[in-house]
Symmetry: C4
Subunit: 192 residues, 4 copies
């Protein structure tokens, strides 16, 4: 079974999720710059979620590049990842409209946490299908970034009830951690 349609379908879903995010930026009725000011938190959450989705697309792109065979388990692990990512426009809008209040900030982190777990499951399914000696398995290694992210999301969810700005700082830090493209895979691929 080829991976082409899996990529095409995922690309479609990624493209739509990343684009409907912007629908949360409601057009103000007033035509002055000050009418844009209340939109600032919505805009900032838009940028943050855009970056997270771009990171997921980027890593998804890199990972599937190493994939040769796709089976039913991989298809469903991929659907599971897309499910959690599809909730990001909702959590983004809720956090943005409520100016980063505690509960929406925690829920934003929960969906990111579930997406990170889903991505880990997808990776494991692909590795188990291709064997521990495959390019991907070697490239992932101990997946330090993935583990840091999951710990970070758990901390951010808890800290949202202390002071949500800790949580937002953690989200930004995790995004920055991943903004560097996945050198691990790129490097290994160059060697092959």
């Amino acid at each position: 079974m080829t991976k082409n349609r899996l990529e095409a379908f995922s690309d479609g879903v990624f493209a739509i999720i990343i684009t409907i995010l912007v629908l949360e930026l409601k057009i103000p009725h007033d035509s002055t710059f000050s009418a844009l000011r209340p939109l600032l938190p919505v805009f900032l959450t838009y940028v943050l979620s855009f970056v997270f989705l771009a990171i997921y697309w980027n890593n998804h792109h890199h990972m599937l590049h190493t994939v040769h065979r796709v089976n039913g388990r991989i298809l469903w692990a991929n659907m599971h990842l897309l499910f959690w990512l599809s909730l990001i426009p909702f959590t983004t809008g809720w956090m943005g409209e409520n100016h980063f209040a505690s509960e929406p900030t925690a829920v934003y982190g929960m969906v990111l946490l579930m997406a990170a777990i889903a991505y880990t499951i997808l990776t494991m399914e692909i590795v188990s299908h291709h064997g521990p000696d495959s390019v991907l398995a070697a490239a992932i290694g101990k997946d330090v970034k993935g583990k840091i992210s999951i710990v970070g999301y758990v901390a951010a969810i808890a800290l949202a009830f202390v002071d949500q700005w800790f949580s937002d700082a953690i989200y930004v830090a995790i995004a920055l951690l991943w903004l560097v493209p996945d050198k691990r895979i790129e490097k290994r691929l160059d060697e092959h």
Copy 2:
């Protein structure tokens, strides 16, 4: 005629339908967890419809994998399937917002029933175009799952006027029945 554009167009429609489903999850104005509670039925119907659409995409993917030639009848049978699937966001939203009331639950099943019939027609068109000795024809066999589903939808529509929870239980049962990827086709393909 190649099947590539048929797949690409269908993937696009699947990706959009599955993503606009989430637009029914209206962002609450309040920032508390209790503001999320009224969204629970909408969320549950979202999960159910996401799973149904994922199942359709998965089976569509498997079936078209076996297809070599596409003709006008297959193109239209595919459009017919996409038409009924495109109504799922509407029926999902109606059922979710009305907390699984009888009529929306019945209409939800009617659209699923029409989609299941459309899928059966598409399968028959592909089989008749490829011949009764093709891989697909052999893999489909007696299509027990498809027949059970159609009987299940008819029962669910009728039972919605007795107690709609019967209907919802049937929808969940049918989804679980299909969640197992279509081993019939996968197995036959492995032999070729």
Copy 3:
């Protein structure tokens, strides 16, 4: 220059237009069947527009199948077609919500007329790029269906101010005329 991205982009736009059409079907607040009755005209226009867009996609698919080379003029003729098609959800919604009133019915026909003209221009650009002896040129022949459609749209626009049901009957008749897949091209292709 290859035609693949032109097809991929067009497929994306077709898929999105055909799917956002359904967003005009606003979910009723009431949970009874009678709450669906006011939606009937919107649903009927949805079916009509879905069929028109499916016809366009089908014919676009057939036509591009015969295309070998793409140039800037073809890219823009294609964009021009997509522009008019992108207005169909608007005219569909306007006609449906106003229960087929005269003006919306006329505007619906105007957009279909412009799309038909844009399709004719696209065909001419492709034929002129491939030469009068190409498969496509031979397959199009005198383009009787295309000419009948354009005359039909003009008549429907005028008749909308006499009695809009004439116009709607013409729209349905044109859709039925095209529902038959383009045998002209399919037949010629089989000979090659």
Copy 4:
């Protein structure tokens, strides 16, 4: 690393942005032609933004056609471009609903300016990855059109506070400048 998924993902985002633009054309409740009159500025901005996005897609298509290798920097430069383009439906709607008032007209230009800068960065990344002797580097040459556009946008933003019709005239002029497909690249490619 292949460029196919980069194209597919970008095509998806382009297709969705260009199509959700039309959602700003809100369906009037009245069924008379006069009900369409208030929509005229929204429609005109729709046409303008449609043309800009079509130009970007066209040029993106031409540019990626010359690309052989993709790296992480190119992926992110492309994401950066898509980010700014994704804001066009918002700025289009704001400018259209406020009948080309000064501030929305300036913000419309700012987003176009940022998109033009992002496109320049993407071009530079691709050229630097392929070398100064590549087809693309030769084809771009001094990029006169790109430089004129950036100067034009800056002027339009400033002039919006004098008289916004100057700005709108500049936007139309830049669109016309680009409507001619990028002969530079087409010509060079023909020579190879």
